[in-house]
Subunit: 346 residues, 2 copies
């Protein structure tokens, strides 16, 4: 009855996710002197005097970010926490506290919420994080989880997206592409199940990538490792939308050019076999598959010796003056990276 | 395909909102030494050394917390922020930062999100708060807004729910019941509109209560006022679910008995006329209507002189040893207060 008289109707899809967030918050000028870093990084930084508090919020929506036909509720609770903690680690800080908001329709019984919270509590235990607040409410349809994580970042240790400089090395933790291939397996078995509900899903042999998709871990250990090695990342981001997309974020925020080598990208051996089976290109999967929650960061070239022997870290390229990002292929062709990112299913 | 094998299905309605939150987070033991206050108050408190950071999260769900047939999107954005800031003020602190998560279906154009964010930015301006982060995502249906507010609470100034002691006075800011009656007017006009879409809604003369419902303000000014008067509240809560429900929260958390006088409850004169029109009891509306976002708090009896002349504050009763809460009626009957709270429409 009080409909907006605004006659314009621009579909949200016209802007895309990053364009939309940019568009909506572009008017958000910060006013407070303790706002050290606002929108545009993995987390905001609040100056507390002798340290920063990092804050980050994520939403997970049924049918957009997860499919309950194959995501167990306990795993969902666990993953919801982990993906938020990952944003705090990506600032080179230690996650400490979370608040949890859950909107749930009445098709879910109390026992479903209990399973979700079991996963939430387990993640809090595993990462030494306290659950300090929350809100549980009805929804008209479906399930939505909103988590805010906060943590402590020591002054001078903060790793923003914007700090990469000429000659820095580009480093990635763990391996990439696994979570995406895990999703392919789950989607395939879901189709098989829909066509014949008597069939049992064939998931054997895919434990590693299924765990990467269903129960990912955040790289708290890498933040501790870098501290122990006395390596200060010059820039950092977590890999939620895909290696390619994250590299472009660092490049853009830092105003430098990122160059990575195709043959250096760390990929689990099982991915090669599976990509053949699915008729997919392994490099494409590694670049554009998302949800690995590894850390991508840059270090001063002088720190190379400190990290080069570590099996958790792989140097995949280098930074130089300029803009954009390139992939140097196995046959030494230079291909410009595009922000294809990771399209969430659904 | 991996359905939970848990055979129990307890409907969420069996537990109720407070029961549900209690039930789900009862296993959340805190581990960190800087977690000064966790679940169970208006906000959590994190010890930052020389001060606390207060954190609070709220969800607003379409069809549960708001009805877009009469809530303008800009007001919705404004109110979403205000209700969260109110939780920080209820700790006797100053809200400073918010993060915003919005899940939205594709029936909303970009212009709708712009209107919501206009309201969000306006509230940030009005309350001197910085928007520092957020997440915008698709939803399969409807609109959901999740806001986390953080703020600064000076050590020694924190007002928890649990601090009320014997002989303290019970004080409420502003007046109560207005937001609820505003909702009644909007619901009535919606019915008229649904029956005859040619009719224009009759909202004239109800500006005050409509603003209480559609564009409430948080009582930042009361926190500043109390500081100026050198009054430290012994306990405090904001009135989101209704005066009766909030009084019972303070009573339970403090382990004391709250006694309030019917004839002291501050009610706007327009409410009396309107209650007659709607055939409602004014005291019931004042006790059980929610969403006024006034502050309810207790003070030491020795501070009475400091506040008694202030038109923004009304002493409505006193605390004594014992438990529960009573209403002392105009004819001096003592009636036990029950946690009827405020049933959100929808």
């Amino acid at each position: 009855m009080f409909d907006s008289k605004n006659p314009q109707r621009t579909p949200i899809s016209d802007l895309g996710e990053f364009g939309l967030i940019d568009h909506l918050v572009k008017n958000a000028k910060t006013k407070l002197s303790n706002t050290a870093l606002a929108v545009g990084d993995d987390a905001a930084l609040i100056d507390q005097g002798d340290h920063y508090t990092a804050i980050s919020t994520d939403l997970l929506v049924e049918g957009v970010h997860f499919d309950l036909s194959y995501v167990p509720l306990k795993h969902l609770g666990y993953k919801s926490v982990v993906v938020n903690l990952s944003d705090i680690y990506a600032m080179n800080g230690m996650a400490e506290h979370i608040t949890v908001g859950i909107a749930v329709s009445n098709r879910f019984p109390v026992e479903a919420l209990e399973e979700i919270y079991e996963g939430i509590h387990l993640a809090c235990e595993r990462y030494n994080v306290d659950l300090v607040g929350g809100d549980t409410t009805a929804s008209q349809s479906g399930l939505m989880i909103s988590i805010t994580a906060t943590g402590r970042v020591e002054k001078g240790a903060e790793a923003k997206r914007s700090g990469a400089g000429d000659n820095d090395l580009i480093v990635v933790s763990g391996d990439v592409g696994g979570a995406y291939m895990g999703l392919q397996i789950l989607e395939r078995e879901k189709q098989v199940f829909l066509e014949n509900p008597e069939m049992q899903p064939e998931l054997g042999g895919h434990e590693y990538i299924l765990e990467r998709q269903l129960k990912p871990e955040a790289r708290k250990d890498i933040v501790e490792l870098l501290k122990g090695l006395d390596v200060q990342p010059t820039s950092m981001i977590d890999i939620s939308d895909g290696l390619s997309s994250e590299i472009l974020h660092l490049s853009k925020a830092s105003g430098t050019q990122f160059n990575i080598y195709e043959n250096k990208i760390p990929i689990d051996p099982s991915i090669y076999t599976l990509c053949e089976e699915f008729n997919m290109n392994t490099t494409t999967v590694a670049l554009n598959g998302g949800e690995d929650y590894e850390l991508l960061f840059t270090i001063k070239i002088g720190d190379h010796d400190k990290i080069k022997a570590n099996p958790n870290l792989t140097v995949i390229g280098y930074v130089k003056g300029g803009s954009g990002a390139n992939l140097i292929t196995r046959d030494e062709k230079v291909i410009e990276l595009k922000a294809q990112g990771f399209k969430h299913h659904g």
